[in-house]
């Protein structure tokens, strides 16, 4: 789960990490008096779940009040388009005091899958694309896997910091590590972490991603979820306990199991089309859940056809057929529905579909699926 910068900075404050003074604004009519009560120069920052906000025009420096009000009006409500997240409407802005920057650093703790440990990355080259720095000047990036005997002061010294700010950076690392562990964060990133002209170390940005599987023990974090940032279909699916991801294609698909769902998307691609979604109904789905999943799927306006691919193991094909039949009876579906069922109770499932009086294209294997989808 992702949260906004302003929320991450609130967490930073709780853990003793310094951040600039700031105020959040969500309504155009509040911009003027909010800024009048603040100080200039200030930075106006779009609060959306997206990287590269600066490049997309979502972060700007204002020198005086008039300028700040203009920029705030421009950013609040804009469509922020980034390569990573596509187009997103800006519903909130953070107005933040500008800081006298002496030097920009990069600091993050991230779950390193290859080593199955948390890795610390610290670089004297912050503020810019860290991946670019890693490519061109790898010697400027210090990486360390966090072990039981982790000593932040030693780490900071190994990373090349020796002066009086070492202690400040080490303290920030300790706080970040504590935050990550206590809140089940898989990424905590500060880019840039700045050293000010007054020799203070401050987090100018904040990014935190949490482990979805651990949210059950963090009600405070779950409360930070911004539903406006989520795709409405995906949000609906989450509430129904379905694993659904909206995609750009025209063939809706419903599958049990994530691996088979991906393979089914690949089969659709082999037929020269693209999947409209990823939908894994899971192992033990009931016919009611199948019906809900089907309704969600069919609400997509771009569909040319629906492809249901079920390998019944724990999920029984007759439950599936019952759910699909019920969903179709109650909806006026204009696109063809292609069904492939294999495994547990497939004969009963086929019987239900064949006697439903509804039109299905029942196929026997994935090669036949490719042929049928090709000809839609």
């Amino acid at each position: 789960m992702k949260i906004h910068e302003y929320q991450a900075k609130e967490l930073f404050k709780q853990y003793g990490i310094k951040v600039p003074k700031s105020v959040l604004c969500e309504k155009k009519e509040n911009i003027e008096h909010t800024i009048k009560d603040f100080s200039v120069p200030c930075v106006i920052k779009a609060q959306v779940h997206s990287g590269a906000r600066g490049k997309a025009g979502g972060v700007k420096l204002a020198q005086d009040y008039q300028n700040a009000i203009e920029i705030a009006n421009e950013i609040l409500g804009m469509e922020l388009v980034s390569k990573q997240a596509g187009a997103k409407k800006v519903n909130k802005i953070l107005i933040e005091q500008a800081v006298d920057i002496e030097k920009e650093l990069y600091l993050s703790l991230t779950f390193d899958r290859a080593n199955e440990a948390i890795a610390l990355i610290l670089s004297t080259q912050g503020g810019m694309d860290i991946e670019e720095t890693a490519k061109t000047t790898p010697e400027k990036i210090y990486t360390e896997l966090i072990k039981d005997n982790f000593n932040p002061l030693e780490t900071v010294s190994k990373a090349g910091f020796h002066d009086n700010i070492s202690k400040q950076i080490a303290d920030i690392i300790s706080s970040l590590h504590k935050l990550a562990k206590e809140k089940d964060a898989l990424l905590v990133e500060i880019n840039p972490l700045v050293i000010t002209k007054q020799n203070e170390v401050i987090a100018l940005d904040a990014k935190i991603n949490f482990d979805d599987n651990a949210l059950f023990r963090h009600e405070d974090i779950l409360a930070l979820k911004d539903e406006a940032e989520e795709n409405p279909f995906e949000l609906q699916a989450q509430k129904e306990g379905l694993n659904y991801i909206k995609l750009d294609g025209t063939i809706g698909c419903m599958v049990n199991g994530a691996g088979l769902a991906m393979a089914t998307m690949d089969v659709i691609r082999l037929a020269g089309k693209n999947a409209a979604n990823f939908l894994d109904v899971g192992g033990g789905a009931s016919s009611e859940k199948i019906e809900k999943a089907f309704k969600l799927l069919i609400a997509d306006k771009n569909l040319e056809a629906v492809f249901i691919n079920i390998f019944g193991g724990i999920l029984r094909c007759d439950f599936l057929a019952e759910g699909v039949k019920n969903a179709i009876q109650n909806l006026n579906i204009k696109v063809p529905v292609i069904v492939r069922m294999e495994g547990t109770n497939k004969e009963n499932g086929a019987d239900i579909l064949n006697h439903s009086g509804l039109k299905f294209t029942v196929i026997k294997d994935l090669n036949e699926a490719i042929e049928v989808i090709k000809n839609i």
């Binding site: 440990a117 023990r217 199991g257 994530a258 088979l260 769902a261 089969v267 691609r269 193991g313 994935l366």
Partner: protein
């Protein structure tokens, strides 16, 4: 022969009195697996499926001498269940549970390693040595005894592959789902090694998916250590970047973990890479019976 499980497997099930636990324990027992006991805290002394229920793994070990445990404990307690099994001396731990937090798994894996145990999963369908022993949740009837070792990160996609093989009359030595999470107990490489050393296994079918670098590491291993033919499919060629495809581990991030880079690595290692999942079975058949 086969790998990891066989007629000598003595199985306990952690979470045996739950709905899923009891259902699948029974299915394994019916398949011929020697179920010797179960564990559910506070239900010690009860009986289920003709075997005793114990409060702790330690008690179950003392009374029933198991060598394998299958875990159906809910996600928030599952990592502790793994640690408990490892500390009680169980040598093969198969964790079916999905959704265990990453930090919990980091600790559980340390416990598994320090006790010299092997963990399979979590978030996996388990494993089966056809017509001998099943420790998992896969549909039993699609399997057939034979010579192809099947390894996969996914559940139903494995069933698909096995079904295709069996339909073509090709049996399997052992089929094993290693799990779809970022942290798993046993990697492709370790299973490949076991299949290479297993006399019964004549060919290997390896099913990967997007995310992480396990397939790339496996490719390196295959190049230098595996002499048996390997056929592979990687799911997720059509998956977009930055979206988690169901499994916690199946995500392309920063341009890494794509299906095409994995396919390339495997092809470079001499693996027959199958681009169409519908043709997995026939591709294996053509290789072992040319």
């Amino acid at each position: 022969m086969s790998i990891f499980i066989n007629k000598d497997t003595r199985l306990i099930v952690q979470g045996i009195t739950g709905k899923e636990g009891s259902f699948h324990a029974q299915s394994c027992q019916q398949y011929g697996t020697n179920l010797v006991g179960g564990v559910t805290p506070k239900k010690g002394g009860e009986k289920i499926l003709g075997v005793g229920v114990f409060n702790t793994v330690k008690e179950a070990v003392k009374e029933t001498n198991p060598n394998t445990s299958m875990i159906f404990v809910p996600a928030r307690f599952a990592a502790n269940a793994i640690t408990e099994a490892a500390e009680a001396g169980i040598k093969l731990i198969v964790c079916i549970t999905e959704g265990i937090p990453v930090y919990d798994m980091m600790e559980a894996k340390r416990a598994v390693k320090s006790n010299g145990a092997r963990l399979i999963g979590p978030n996996c369908p388990g494993l089966i040595t056809p017509e001998e022993c099943k420790v998992g949740i896969m549909p039993s009837n699609i399997h057939k005894k034979g010579h192809v070792g099947v390894i996969s990160r996914s559940g139903t996609l494995t069933y698909e592959a096995v079904y295709q093989l069996t339909q073509l009359g090709i049996g399997q030595s052992t089929c094993i789902g290693i799990g779809g999470d970022p942290i798993i107990g046993t990697s492709f490489t370790e299973v490949l090694e076991a299949f290479q050393n297993d006399e019964q296994t004549k060919a290997i079918c390896m099913i990967g998916e997007i995310g992480g670098s396990a397939e790339e590491e496996a490719s390196e291993y295959i190049k230098t250590h595996i002499t048996k033919p390997v056929v592979s499919f990687i799911a997720g060629l059509s998956a977009p970047e930055g979206k988690r495809m169901g499994h916690a581990g199946a995500i392309i991030s920063g341009g890494k973990g794509t299906a095409s880079s994995k396919m390339q690595a495997l092809a470079n290692a001499g693996v027959t890479v199958c681009k169409n999942p519908a043709n997995l079975g026939i591709t294996v058949k053509n290789i072992i019976c040319p």
